[in-house]
């Protein structure tokens, strides 16, 4: 994977009629990087991510995600990415293991492969003792880790996280991010969108989008130094309200 960016976009653009939702997005995210993709409501984040996930064809420019050309290699692209949202869709009446097998199965993993992957993932997620438990009976922090496991079952190279830790306590949140750092250390690229700047603090680099354009892209420390903001919330307000 050396040399080629895990997420690459040049001039990526999407118009809806006269409205330009994403205007000439340039982005280069390396393998194993944790990248925060921030912006106000309506700034174009969702449109950009839908393009990068192969759900929406671009109107212009080009992008490659995990080596696949966006808008062309759509089938391969979907197999190489994972997606997890705060509003995760686990099956409450399936056990932990069954959920993992279900989501892995959707991505075409065979029985033996699924069993091996579950044995590898469940201990890492701290869920090995819960494998036979009904998902509906788990505390929120556990569901969140299981949801991450389901997004990782098919060994994606790029993981998209949408407000992944909304609503959980800070201890569970830190535990969750430790898992994310482990994945990144294994080379998985993590692409995070969130409205919550305390989540943005966990990213290695962040971009901030305003009205379809990226107006800033740097490490959290770099952005604080540049804008004089004390934290990411402050940085965001200074850049977006400028």
């Amino acid at each position: 994977m050396s040399g080629e960016a895990a997420v690459f976009a040049r001039g990526l653009t999407r118009r809806f009629g006269d409205f330009t939702a994403v205007e000439s997005l340039d982005l280069e995210v390396a393998g194993g990087e944790i990248f925060g993709f921030l912006g106000a409501n309506g700034a174009g984040k969702t449109t950009a991510i839908r393009m990068l996930c192969g759900l929406l064809p671009p109107s212009g420019g080009e992008a490659r995600v995990a080596g696949c050309r966006v808008g062309r290699d759509t089938g391969a692209l979907k197999r190489r990415i994972g997606y997890m949202s705060q509003r995760f869709s686990l099956y409450e009446d399936l056990t932990v293991l069954e959920n993992l097998e279900f989501f892995g199965g959707v991505y075409g993993l065979g029985r033996a492969e699924l069993a091996a992957r579950a044995d590898e993932l469940l201990p890492r997620l701290g869920l090995d003792a819960e494998r036979g438990r009904l998902t509906g009976s788990l505390p929120l922090g556990y569901k969140q880790r299981l949801s991450l496991g389901c997004a990782l079952a098919h060994r994606p190279r790029v993981l998209f996280l949408d407000e992944p830790t909304g609503g959980v306590d800070p201890v569970a949140r830190r535990g969750f991010w430790d898992l994310i750092y482990e994945q990144a250390a294994d080379g998985v690229t993590v692409f995070v969108t969130t409205h919550y700047m305390d989540e943005a603090e966990y990213c290695g680099r962040v971009s901030i989008m305003v009205q379809g354009r990226v107006v800033a892209l740097d490490t959290p420390s770099g952005l604080k130094a540049r804008t004089g903001g004390v934290d990411m919330q402050d940085v965001f307000l200074r850049l977006v309200d400028a």
């Binding site: 409501n41 929120l140 959980v168 306590d169 800070p170 919550y196 490490t219 965001f236 307000l237």
Partner: protein
């Protein structure tokens, strides 16, 4: 106007509140007081008991034990009297998406029996106050998330309540709209309203006059945001720089007793207790290519530390 219960000056007063659902305790002995003109934040994760507490304050749910009073009235015994002087915005406030902004306001004015003579003036006031005036003919379903929340708040205020109870009003709202929303809350407090606001987000704690940190149905700390952050009994060193991965490896492969390391993106936070430990960390990282700075703990640091503490105790400054 007698906005407070005579004894204490509190507009909202909660004492010894308990509530279980089936066998599961949602609130296990909570005390709380909010004075007129103050914003009190209930801060805690999902499942901490915030919503249950608020529903009891609003008279929508009866407590198993304890009492909630609003402007001196018991919410469980006189729910109607309480609701007349209280505005409640639940997590999923129901606006009518196919009605316009103005029509939604009119609907809630009907619901709360706002007299026709007051209605026009009140609507104009709320439109100006929420800056929704230019959108009064827009359907609620077509508003942005931030504007929907402002409209929901306006509907909650239509009957001129003296007490406001807002359950996670800024969830899903971007930082710019959130700041605008909090500006409005501050203005309401300035007019003498008492506000009880819940949020799972620690970074909103600093916007409240006082916060109650909730965990598993109990208050684990309370006070001004600074006072709560100051309950954190340990020290923090922030580690930054190009050598961060090397520094992390050093600190995790040769852990120091009593020292904890948390990673935050491009920084590490090293939790320690004294200067000797800080010196030891500095010595270990001398050649790692990083800078070390002492930093002040935040509410989240306090929360994490308090969660690890034995149950039952409450930190008060």
């Amino acid at each position: 106007m007698n906005a407070a219960d005579g004894m204490s000056g509190a507009a909202i007063r909660v004492e010894g509140l308990r509530k279980s659902y089936g066998g599961r305790a949602a609130v296990r002995g909570l005390d709380l007081a909010v004075a007129p003109g103050r914003i009190c934040g209930l801060i805690g994760p999902d499942g901490a008991g915030k919503t249950t507490t608020m529903r009891i304050v609003c008279g929508l749910l009866r407590p198993d034990a304890g009492v909630a009073r609003v402007l001196g009235r018991d919410s469980a015994r006189e729910p109607r009297a309480v609701r007349e002087r209280l505005g409640y915005m639940p997590q999923r406030f129901s606006l009518y998406p196919d009605l316009t902004v103005a029509e939604n306001l009119r609907f809630f004015a009907d619901l709360f029996g706002v007299p026709a003579s007051e209605r026009v003036r009140r609507e104009a006031e709320l439109m100006e106050f929420s800056r929704l005036g230019p959108f009064r003919q827009r359907r609620a379903g077509q508003l942005s998330g931030g504007m929907k929340q402002k409209l929901a708040l306006s509907c909650t205020l239509i009957h001129t309540p003296e007490v406001l109870v807002l359950d996670e009003p800024t969830t899903g709202v971007d930082p710019v709209s959130r700041r605008e929303f909090w500006r409005i809350l501050r203005e309401l407090a300035g007019r003498g309203l008492a506000l009880l606001v819940s949020t799972p987000y620690m970074d909103e704690a600093g916007l409240c006059d006082e916060v109650v940190l909730m965990h598993e149905g109990r208050a684990i700390a309370r006070g001004t945001p600074d006072e709560v952050a100051a309950t954190f009994p340990r020290r923090l060193l922030e580690v930054r720089g190009a050598g961060l991965p090397a520094a992390l490896t050093i600190l995790t492969t040769s852990p120091l007793p009593g020292v904890k390391v948390h990673r935050y993106g491009d920084r590490l936070h090293v939790v320690h207790d004294d200067a000797a430990q800080a010196d030891e960390v500095a010595r270990l990282l001398a050649n790692a290519g990083v800078e070390l700075h002492p930093v002040a703990p935040g509410i989240e640091d306090a929360f994490v530390e308090l969660m690890a503490a034995p149950a039952g105790g409450e930190a008060t400054p």
